[in-house]
């Protein structure tokens, strides 16, 4: 390492340690050249500034993927089926309710409601589903419809996006997952998801949702065709949006998962754990206006998912009784509540359940949890 680089890095470390807002250039330098363990320690200090104390939260939730029929054909996705495909499905409200009964039995607090971009279902079907969930499961927050889905609905139903958000909110929606963020740089989106919402569209949905009082999370899927500078550009767009509308509760990033997808041909080497830890640490340092950073144990596995708590993460995300989208691409890590509690305790933290809105729930005794 040259003396110039070393002193530039030291200056960036010092800025990060002081909690000064990092520039895009600082973040590119840290992501490209920073020492992973130094980044981790700096990120953990930042985590303590944002969330002081010894608690690591998680939420008992489940995914409901009400349909896998999709007309967006993203090259990295192994979950969707085109219309007319024999493996395509749409769940009835009763099938959805049966899944939520299982979630209620675990004292779950959130349903992550996401589906393919179905070409025919009308808005009334979605409003009906939201109302039926809200009526039967008032304690379960509906965290649903990522921005690409809402953009798709706006085109399909020829309605303004803001009206769809308002009607979904009236029917029971309270928060929006950050799915489909991928990389918020259109050069990249054109390659990996050409038919999905543009960066501007994605951010516009999030901004509108925030203005209407919904919260959301922000995500990043990296490790495919983007450059490090494009990863930082993504973080920068999230930070700017948050400065304006303040509705992002958390940031989550994960690496693109091989192998059952069309993008495979373009990505020879799926990113490793090293890259994940650097990326999550730099995100914690750069996103000084987003309070929580989640560990992605679903994609990284429980070991690295736990280790991410040393690299700036303060939340372990959801227990996800059922995960269909990432697992369709080959990753099948599971972490039921007892394992979740043990994993957090083993890292030296106190596990606490939370709501979608990061309200910390009273401590629970989890059956089977080893202490």
């Amino acid at each position: 390492m040259t003396a110039t680089l070393a002193s530039a890095l030291d200056a960036a470390y010092d800025k990060a340690a002081a909690g000064t807002r990092l520039s895009v250039e600082d973040a590119v330098l840290l992501l490209g050249q920073g020492d992973v363990l130094t980044l981790g320690s700096l990120a953990n200090a930042a985590r303590q500034r944002h969330n002081p104390g010894n608690v690591v939260t998680y939420i008992v939730d489940r995914n409901v993927n009400y349909t896998n029929v999709c007309v967006t054909y993203c090259s990295f996705c192994a979950f969707y089926r085109p219309p007319g495909h024999e493996e395509g499905y749409v769940q009835t409200f009763e099938q959805v309710a049966a899944r939520l009964e299982e979630l209620r039995a675990q004292d779950g607090r959130q349903v992550l409601l996401q589906g393919g971009h179905h070409p025919d279902l009308p808005i009334a079907w979605y409003e009906g589903m939201l109302r039926s969930i809200k009526a039967r499961f008032p304690e379960i927050n509906i965290h649903g419809f990522s921005p690409p889905e809402i953009t798709h609905f706006a085109e399909l139903w020829k309605l303004p996006m803001a009206e769809i958000v308002a009607r979904f909110k009236a029917a029971g929606l309270r928060s929006i997952p950050g799915g489909g963020g991928e990389i918020l740089v259109d050069r990249v989106r054109k390659i990996i998801a050409p038919m999905k919402a543009t960066s501007d569209e994605w951010l516009a949905v999030m901004g509108e949702a925030h203005r209407q009082g919904l919260t959301s999370s922000a995500t990043m899927m990296y490790g495919h065709v983007e450059t490090l500078a494009e990863r930082v550009a993504h973080l920068d767009r999230v930070r700017r949006q948050q400065d304006e509308t303040k509705g992002f509760t958390a940031f989550i990033c994960w690496s693109y998962q091989n192998p059952n997808t069309n993008l495979l041909r373009k990505v020879k080497d799926p990113a490793g754990a090293y890259d994940y830890l650097r990326t999550v640490a730099v995100a914690r340092l750069f996103l000084d206006n987003v309070r929580h950073v989640q560990s992605s144990w679903v994609t990284q596995g429980p070991k690295i998912g736990q280790l991410a708590l040393d690299f700036g993460c303060d939340d372990m995300g959801g227990t996800m009784m059922e995960e269909n989208v990432v697992s369709a691409a080959g990753t099948t890590y599971q972490l039921p509540p007892d394992e979740m509690e043990r994993t957090i305790r083993e890292a030296g933290y106190e596990p606490r359940r939370r709501t979608t809105f990061y309200e910390v729930l009273p401590p629970v005794t989890v059956p089977g949890a080893r202490t």
Binding site: L37, G40, P302, K303, D310
Partner: protein, 386 residues
């Protein structure tokens, strides 16, 4: 013997800069100074390093030592494991590999089975076979001498790294010969070096609970002492993440350090993560990733006289092994092909990692991949192996 003496850690020109880089919390300041000035750590220091909450600070100390020893080089090799039989009389509590001879899952390879596997890996560019097996009365010294001679005759360039101390001790009991006699005979038949398995945890209160029928710590060490005196290189290991405590791990590594002071014959230390599935200890959760990394780091710091530290991906998984390269490890082991011992205990890692994936993981960690042979000589190839 190939001289591969460890380049001992030296005090750098600018120790103050190294100290700053460690960013050690105040209550690790004294240990950070010891590390920067290359002073030997004590038993108590080791226990403190295990218990300090700041895992990354401990990691940075180990990373400094790794860098002083090896720069940005990270080694891998192209090898194959051959496990001629899983029939084993020892019945260790932590093992899912060993079988009773009557068990339907028991297997026994012939010499030809072994040669066939060796031929396949030689064709793929392997420079080493790693042969270990259960303790089986029919797989005695003569059987293995013939195997070694057969392998050497067919594949003269292939390095034969075979038999843990435990197997050597078993041959000695079986034939009533001394360690030196058994080792000399095996060397005459073609044995090139020894792996480091069977060490488990030396402390008797742990050893009697997890592998009561296995040779004790003194005999394990004595076999390696003898092997080193005869000119063989070997590795050393520690099985962690079961019922042992911090003190047991520190004690284990310090016993290895003491022997290495005497003989200088250990090349690499390989911590082995316990895998509970299908063992009599399956009620235990197995080590966390944080413990995996802490064991690497503390071992690097304590074991100042063993040159190489391996993050054994077969046991750690690809992800933790890669991160281990920032916690003191400088070796990712080999491409392996067909591994039974850990996989029967539920390891989720693949049984082989292609060279391209190994080198990608090393590069992603900011290091330079270097292919080595068993004795850590650099291997240069005209063409990348298949």
């Amino acid at each position: 013997m190939t001289p591969a003496a460890p380049p001992l850690p030296h005090v750098p020109a600018d120790p103050a800069r190294d100290l700053r880089r460690l960013r050690a919390p105040a209550d690790l300041g004294d240990l950070a100074e010891k590390v920067v000035y290359a002073q030997r750590l004590s038993f108590d220091d080791g226990v403190r390093l295990y218990r300090h909450p700041d895992l990354l600070a401990v990691g940075r100390m180990a990373d400094l030592v790794r860098e002083r020893l090896h720069g940005d080089r990270v080694y891998y090799n192209i090898n194959r494991h051959i496990e001629p039989t899983n029939v084993c009389a020892t019945a260790c509590a932590f093992c899912a590999f060993g079988r009773d001879a009557q068990d339907p899952a028991a297997y026994e390879m012939s010499h030809d089975d072994v040669y066939e596997r060796a031929a396949a890996c030689v064709a793929e560019g392997a420079t080493e076979v790693h042969v270990v097996a259960g303790l089986h009365p029919q797989f005695d010294l003569e059987w293995y001498e013939e195997m070694l001679r057969g392998l050497k005759a067919r594949f003269p360039a292939l390095h034969l790294k075979c038999f843990t101390s435990v197997e050597i001790a078993y041959f000695c009991r079986l034939h009533k010969w001394s360690h030196a006699t058994v080792l000399r005979r095996l060397m005459a038949a073609g044995l090139d070096s020894m792996p480091g398995g069977g060490a488990e945890i030396f402390a008797p209160e742990v050893r009697t609970q997890i592998c009561d029928n296995k040779c004790d710590a003194d005999e394990w060490l004595q076999v390696h002492r003898t092997a080193h005196a005869l000119g063989l290189r070997s590795n050393c290991t520690m099985l962690y993440g079961h019922i042992e405590r911090d003190e047991h791990r520190v004690d284990h590594v310090l016993r290895l350090r003491a022997l290495q002071d005497e003989t200088k014959g250990f090349q690499a230390f390989i911590p082995l993560a316990f895998h509970p599935a299908n063992t009599r200890l399956s009620h235990l959760p197995g080590p966390s990733g944080r413990l995996d990394l802490r064991v690497l780091a503390v071992s690097r710091l304590l074991l100042d006289n063993v040159p190489h530290l391996k993050a054994y991906w077969i046991m750690l998984g690809e992800k933790t092994a890669q991160v281990g390269l920032s916690f003191g490890a400088n070796d990712l082991d080999g491409t392996v092909v067909e591994e039974k011992i850990v996989h029967m205990a539920g390891a989720e890692s693949p049984e082989r990692l292609p060279v391209e994936r190994l080198t990608f993981l090393i590069r992603e960690a900011g290091k330079t991949p270097v292919e080595r042979d068993t004795l850590y000589n650099v291997v240069t190839r005209e063409q990348a192996p298949a």
